[in-house]
């Protein structure tokens, strides 16, 4: 899997997709959606789709793309290679969402939470397959958040397609399990080859599974925290695990809007102007308009 685009810039999102098998343009296809890396506090989250003609679902199953959770990393990689070889009837695409994109979305002034980011990414990938001319007739998606609203939203967005949103979809539908394998292979590769923007000397990359409850990951985070900058962008700053370490170990930073909330309302009398003699003569508007005042000390 060629993640060189992610290597160039791992602060946003990047999309990879296989060529579209000609068969998938002609025959009605089933498409599965799944993600990898939703829970970890480190690294990217990957959304993937996998599709093949409904008539060939048996062949896809024959690839033994059983429930991807039961497969080891190397088995997933081997299966992915097999799917690549069968690219005359299997296609895939994926979006790698960087930890920076996740953090800045969730912590932005206008909150864009993980569920919305996930839903939009899944819908974006389905749209991508349609735009590439894949004849999608059925879509199977693993649930993220409440299944009904998700199902309705996707059905509204893609009226001509039969949408099924179900828990544990990757154990029920081979296309979802295949999508899950694509997502996991991409995430594993991305994490393994993560290029740290920050030139951290003696960086130990033994950060465990990346899951918040993994002691190794927690230890790594504690070692990495920097009082002013927090963490490398490999870390999802919006994760509770990361935030609690920042609250303990990092500098308090005061933003303009964070203070307004704290400042109580002024008493009404404070709006009445003081007696003219008490009020110091204001600097000329040339300076006021530019935020300039005489320096009284350094």
């Amino acid at each position: 899997m060629d993640l060189s685009e992610l290597q160039r810039d791992n602060t946003g999102r990047c999309r990879l997709s296989s060529p579209v098998p000609e068969l998938c343009r002609q025959e009605p296809c089933a498409l599965g959606v799944d993600e990898a890396g939703r829970g970890p506090v480190l690294g990217p989250m990957v959304y993937a789709i996998c599709y093949c003609p409904v008539s060939r679902l048996g062949d896809l199953e024959a690839l033994k793309v059983a429930d991807s959770k039961t497969l080891s990393e190397s088995e997933r990689e081997r299966l992915f290679e097999k799917m690549e070889k069968d690219r005359h009837f299997v296609g895939w695409a994926l979006d790698v969402l960087s930890p920076n994109l996740i953090s800045t979305s969730m912590l932005g002034r206008v909150k864009y939470n993980l569920n919305s980011l996930s839903h939009d990414t899944a819908a974006g990938l389905i749209q991508h397959a349609l735009d590439q001319g894949v004849n999608v007739t059925q879509v199977f998606v693993d649930t993220v958040g409440p299944p009904d609203t998700y199902q309705q939203r996707l059905q509204q967005r893609f009226p001509g397609v039969e949408i099924t949103v179900k828990a544990k979809a990757d154990a029920l539908y081979p296309v979802v399990s295949a999508a899950s394998i694509c997502a996991k292979v991409a995430r594993d590769q991305a994490v393994k080859s993560w290029r740290f923007l920050e030139d951290l000397d003696h960086l130990d990359v033994d950060y465990g599974s990346g899951y918040p409850n993994d002691p190794k990951t927690k230890e790594w985070l504690r070692k990495q925290v920097e009082p002013v900058f927090g963490f490398p962008q490999f870390v999802r700053f919006s994760w509770r695990t990361a935030q609690s370490i920042l609250e303990k170990e990092a500098q308090d930073v005061v933003w303009e809007d964070s203070v307004e909330e704290q400042e109580g309302a002024r008493s009404i009398t404070s709006y009445f102007s003081q007696s003219p003699c008490a009020r110091p003569r204001l600097a000329h508007r040339f300076f006021l308009e530019r935020g300039l005042e005489p320096a009284s000390s350094l």
Binding site: E256, G291, L292, E293, P294, A295
Partner: protein
Amino acid sequence: ARQHVFLLPEYLKDTSKKMKSGLMFVKLVNPCSGEGTLYLFDMCLLQLFEVKVFKEKHHSWFINQSVQSGGLLHFATPMDPLFLLLHYLIKADKEGTFQPLDQVVMDDMFPNCNLLLKLPELEKLLQHVTEEKEINNKKYYKYSKEKTLMWLEKKVNQTMTALKTNNINVSARVQSSAFFSGNQASSDKEEDYICYAHGLISDYIPKELSDDLSKH
């Protein structure tokens, strides 16, 4: 240690190389408010700079490999020292007599005011704002309001020219400079420029003199 970020005229860079304490921060009187204000004195060129600070809450600096809270930005710009000398001449005028300059420019609050006595061409400067007498080769000075108003009038005219060339928005109504039409000068009346320039100069002279200047 605290670090500061300064915008200075380029030529001051050599000064701090030429002389160890080439550039000195001194507290001197603010000729408008009478309070203490920070100035920068170039001991090589014997030139006075006023120091203004851009201050906005919740700012910080990254300076090389450090972070500095406050985010203040200081500007040092040349200032006509006669505004400071004027402050002392007006103060001494209450005695109504001619006095030697070193007895006029004295200030327990701001002892560094004696730096003003080192200024080159001091006598030429003083001619703009004083009457002088010479007895036994010693010069004595007395504040002259008439001459000062003439000098300030020149200052106002110079400022008006500068406001026009720099397209400064002087109109009384509040207007965002982003929506300015090109031909700024025409839309602003000459009087707006005079008022604006008078106001700007008044930031450097006592209130009473500002009122006199306004009548003048």
